[in-house]
């Protein structure tokens, strides 16, 4: 086994990793939509989806089927190349952007050491930015291609908006780069290892060597710019329902629309992961490394959760629910116990656990904002981007570099 890996590992392992990642991400996207609808519903004091499956848990499945089965009309006078190319591009780029994100520290399975992520590029951050930069074209082309003034306006808006906010996005990261002195996301995370736990993360910046400096400003700027990059509320002007019907994807239906949809959520995930890595210590646990007891936190969370789901399941209205929910609860519980018993697995799971926990929190924040905030007006958007965000992030760069210089003296 191990020698096979040693021989063909470079070929097999990435393929496996890619398959796993795509599966995970797509599922995540699906249930992200579910979560979003649920959360917003509750914010608006509604129930949200609850018909398909218990608590509407099968809703994403139904949506998927609907997407596949729906008719796909093509409006007349479209620019075919652009019209067809745009959705593919969007989805492709979104998925590619995940390829350079490390979800955890390097792991060793069967004596084969590999990084927890697909590619380990030493300029992964730049690659990520490059990919996000190209992300504009999907929307712009869609807007241009589908021969529709709403779409065109949406495309225009999005391209303008993305160019404007990309500057702020990039500049807000420079502080972190200055501290890390490296483009590799993995090293950026490793720089944040310290004996103060979450105090060592870039957002606070009390690292062991004292090389860090709080990036709270950069953090805020990055988050705002990231929301704008992903065209989410309150920056969702390209697809502003109330103004442009559905913006750039007005003319798209069924799978093409689905691609935009998935692409958007995937890029959300990617950006959240990046956010986590840059400012919240990636896969690092918020507790100091010395507190080994905290390694049991996953099981401590999973077991009660499982038990609660189980309990909730057996008194659910529908038969279907009585069958599925307890099973799910059982799976959770068993998983928790398993982690408790096999400590090596537990160790392996630590990184990803914290990583996804943080990413989940960020995603929840996304949804929360969508439920809360109104949309910007276009001129407000531009003014905010150029006259506030950009100067502030530049100021952050200056401040950080000044501090670092002063430390050197």
């Amino acid at each position: 086994m191990s020698e096979i890996l040693a021989k063909y590992g470079f070929l097999i392992v990435p393929i496996i990793k890619v398959l796993i990642l795509v599966f995970v991400v797509l599922t995540l996207d699906a249930y992200l939509t579910w979560l979003e609808r649920k959360v917003i519903a509750h914010i608006q004091a509604r129930w949200g989806p609850h018909r398909v499956g218990p608590h509407g848990l099968l809703q994403p499945l139904a949506d998927g089927i609907k997407f596949i089965l729906k008719e796909d009309p093509m409006p007349t006078g479209v620019d075919k190349k652009a019209y067809f190319f745009a959705p593919f591009l969007t989805l492709m780029l979104a998925l590619t952007s995940l390829s350079v994100i490390p979800f955890g520290p390097d792991i060793t399975i069967f004596g084969y050491t590999t990084n927890f992520g697909i590619a380990d590029v030493n300029i992964s951050l730049l690659v990520l930015f490059a990919i996000t930069a190209l992300g504009v074209y999907g929307i712009a082309l869609a807007g241009w291609g589908s021969n529709n003034k709403y779409s065109l306006l949406g495309g225009l808006r999005s391209s303008a908006q993305m160019i404007s906010y990309e500057l702020a996005l990039t500049l807000s990261v420079v502080g972190v780069l200055l501290i890390a002195g490296d483009f590799s996301l993995k090293h950026i995370v490793e720089k944040q290892i310290g004996d103060f736990g979450l105090l060592s993360w870039n957002i606070v910046g009390l690292t062991k060597g004292g090389g860090g400096f709080t990036q709270i400003i950069g953090c805020v700027c990055f988050f705002i710019a990231a929301i704008a990059e992903t065209n989410r509320v309150p920056f969702d002007l390209p697809e502003a329902e109330s103004e442009l019907v559905a913006g750039f994807h007005t003319e798209y239906a069924s799978m093409k629309f689905a691609m935009f949809f998935i692409g958007e959520y995937t890029s959300m995930i990617a950006v959240s992961s990046l956010f986590t890595i840059l400012f919240f210590g990636g896969w690092l646990s918020p507790f100091p490394a010395s507190w080994t007891i905290t390694h049991y936190l996953p099981s401590v969370i999973f077991i009660p959760l499982g038990l609660w789901v189980f309990y909730d399941g057996i008194r659910y209205e529908t038969i279907f629910g009585r069958l599925i929910l307890p099973g799910l609860g059982a799976v959770f519980t068993v998983l928790g116990f398993a982690l408790f018993l096999f400590s090596p697995v537990n160790e392996v799971i630590q990184g990803p656990f914290w990583f996804f926990a943080k990413v989940g929190a960020v995603l929840f924040f996304y949804i929360w904002m969508r439920g809360t905030l109104p949309r910007f007006r276009y001129d407000q958007l531009m003014d905010f981007g150029w006259k506030f965000l950009l100067p502030v992030s530049i100021a952050n760069v200056v401040l950080t570099s000044a501090v670092i210089m002063w430390r050197m003296k």
Partner: protein, 167 residues
């Protein structure tokens, strides 16, 4: 025997040439723009192949992410249509394309002939870690660097002045 690297090179070079040709071929500016983006991306790939990661990234971020977006933005803004193939300029109509091709050929021929003097390529990747590059940029080329910053400032001002409607 053809190594994997060579295969990748030919792949990317083919893509680049394809993009360049289609830039000429396409009659609609936005398609030309897309072809140009293709060229740029494949060039970035070639840079990676040569181990110039940083340049590759910058190539995509700046060219792909900013400059070409600007082009597409302008095309969309002006709602440019299919270009009209007027032939007012005799010079360009008759002499243009052959001369241009001849120019390209002269350069290519010169390179092909002078390949004897060409130094053997150094081990890829070894030459330029991003760190070295930045050291060079901020030590030896610091004045040009500052100058470029001024240039950009001026460009911003100029663009604003040009773009605002006179009132």
């Amino acid at each position: 025997m053809i190594s994997g690297v060579l295969v990748i090179f030919f792949l990317l070079a083919g893509l680049a040439l394809l993009g360049a040709v289609s830039l000429i071929w396409q009659s609609h500016p936005i398609h030309s723009a897309l072809s140009l983006i293709l060229v740029m991306v494949s060039l970035a790939g070639l840079y990676l192949l040569m181990g110039a990661e940083f340049v590759a990234a910058v190539q995509i971020i700046v060219y792909g992410g900013a400059v070409m977006v600007l082009f597409i933005f302008v095309i969309m803004l002006l709602n440019a249509g299919v270009e009209e193939r007027t032939n007012i300029s005799k010079m360009a109509t008759f002499g243009g394309v052959p001369l241009a091709m001849a120019l390209g050929l002269i350069i290519a021929a010169a390179i092909a002939r002078s390949s004897g003097q060409m130094p053997a390529p150094a081990a890829s990747g070894a030459m330029s870690s991003t760190r070295e590059l930045s050291k060079l940029l901020f030590s030896e080329f610091v004045y040009p660097f500052e100058l470029t910053s001024f240039l950009i400032l001026v460009a911003i001002l100029g663009a604003i002045v040009l773009a605002q409607r006179e009132n």
